[in-house]
Symmetry: D2
Subunit: 178 residues, 4 copies
């Protein structure tokens, strides 16, 4: 192949490189949608538990479809993990949500509270073509009544092959006491 | 300009796009170096304070050189911020480290403790060409003695034009009580 | 009444006042013994749980024999109670230690951790004939390993008819984060 | 001694036992009054600070008149003390309220927040002739706005020679995170 033809080929590649990511750009709306889905998932786990349903299956689907464990490492620090603060495997994440895991006796099952609503309040977003980060407070409404519980979060999202956002970063923490 | 010349130009651009990011790839070593620099900066602020030096200037340089406030939004949730949990401006970040800011009366000056050492223990990393995230615990050694204080963190780094890592994400939290 | 008769009366009064309370005086040793018994009780509940024993019965005896619910109001604020911070009935106290109470879904069972040791470190005591207060830190050693967990306490003790100390005040709290 | 003489003796003893303590009996109203005075004192320290007044003198009077340091040991665990959790001397207590004490660099001055209101909500009381204990939540309203901060307390009161309640026990803690 002649040199100028090679250059032309590369030229087309360049255009592809410049446009393809644009088509994948992550928007604030996508982040908000992913957050609403996550909140609904946590509520669904608790509802299955209250209704004597297969809440563990609901939790497993929650983790499998919303987190990025199948795409690589996930950086997950749940709110109430003490002994094992960081949950880098799918099993550890499921355990956090529903408990009953002998390897993690500390897990009472965060989602079994149960919660009837989760409301996100993003304070700041970082959006790129490949990655998005959201920081803010979320508020969990307990089924037994009382004020929603305020918790701080950072979520990091990447896109899977179907273009769905998946969480590969989740740092959740109780606010510093006043 | 003729069409094939245009294509050639784009071709050169493509090469630039394909090689430049590779040259910018963020490594674990770069992250660890950035963390060591951050820790040394916090210690330096406290040392300036103890020595009646211009600790506010040291803190300002710490924030200006290590965070990405000049490159866009920064997502910063310091450990001990209660009223204003999120610090998205440089002034708010400086206030957190040294206090004395009338707009943030809650800030006692985190770096004025002072601390004599900061040790990072990364639990997991997410490394890409453009962005890196590190999660783990850091341990702050108080000057007055006693055990190091354990704090959880997530740091997100981007590269500036000189190729230095800059923090555009910093979520710091006290561990959930046992 | 003649003067010598009055003196005799006063004499009896003096003897009565000086001896009766003296016989009931609460000592530091009694407080320490009561604390050791409480710690052993918490460990025993967890051991019964680990051994598939009747841990609820062990917990009930722990509460019935060491607290003063049958002598009047008990002021009890356990460490990890959030929704129902204060436990003023025996049922509420048992629930805190072993969970499984539909009225207190938040209770995971503090003593089921389980803990293998509880060590008291009194910081200050207030001792009178009728009442004693102890304040300090206690350290709970988790069965799954790791550092003992430090918790702050205030215990108030009164004596029952058999002369045993009973807890009518128990305020337990996690230390303020550093 | 003749039988009627013995009866007289016992009679005097009975009268003495029944009247003397009765005159010293501590009531719920006295406790509530002492709590209101304590809250007003904390607000007054902050107001003096805001008005560039001698807030340290106000804090010293607060501690001298409301606590029992001059009557014996005081068991005091303030909310935000980390390094020195327990404050058993008057100096340590004053330091907690207003800071500026080189021996306690951790003290930022709890009362300098400042707070504009303190509201007590007693959950349970233990009242005897000589001693009273109150347990509950108090709510501190920050001057800069925002929701009142909820804090848990146990207060123990004894009477001084003038019949005023004095705090010899004060355990204050942030609620366990939800």
């Amino acid at each position: 192949m002649k040199s100028w033809q090679a250059r032309i080929s590369i030229g087309f590649l360049a255009v592809a490189l410049m446009t393809a990511p644009a088509a994948m750009a992550i928007t604030a709306e996508e982040v908000e949608e992913a957050q609403a889905t996550w909140g609904a998932g946590v509520v669904a786990i608790g509802a299955a538990y209250s209704d004597d349903g297969d809440y563990e299956a609901v939790a497993r689907e929650h983790v499998e479809t919303l987190y990025a464990f199948q795409m690589g490492d996930v950086l997950f620090k749940p709110t109430k993990a003490v002994e094992d603060q960081f949950r880098t495997t799918e099993e550890e994440a499921v355990s956090y949500f529903v408990g009953g895991n002998d390897d993690h006796p500390e897990d009472g099952g965060f989602a079994l509270q149960p919660w009837t609503d989760v409301r996100f309040e993003n304070e700041a977003l970082y959006l790129t073509d490949d990655y998005a980060v959201a920081m803010g407070n979320y508020y969990f409404t307990p089924a037994e009544g009382g004020d929603p519980v305020k918790v701080e979060y950072t979520f990091g999202y990447m896109k899977d092959e179907e273009g769905n956002l998946r969480i590969n970063l989740h740092h959740s923490s109780v606010p510093f006491p006043g």
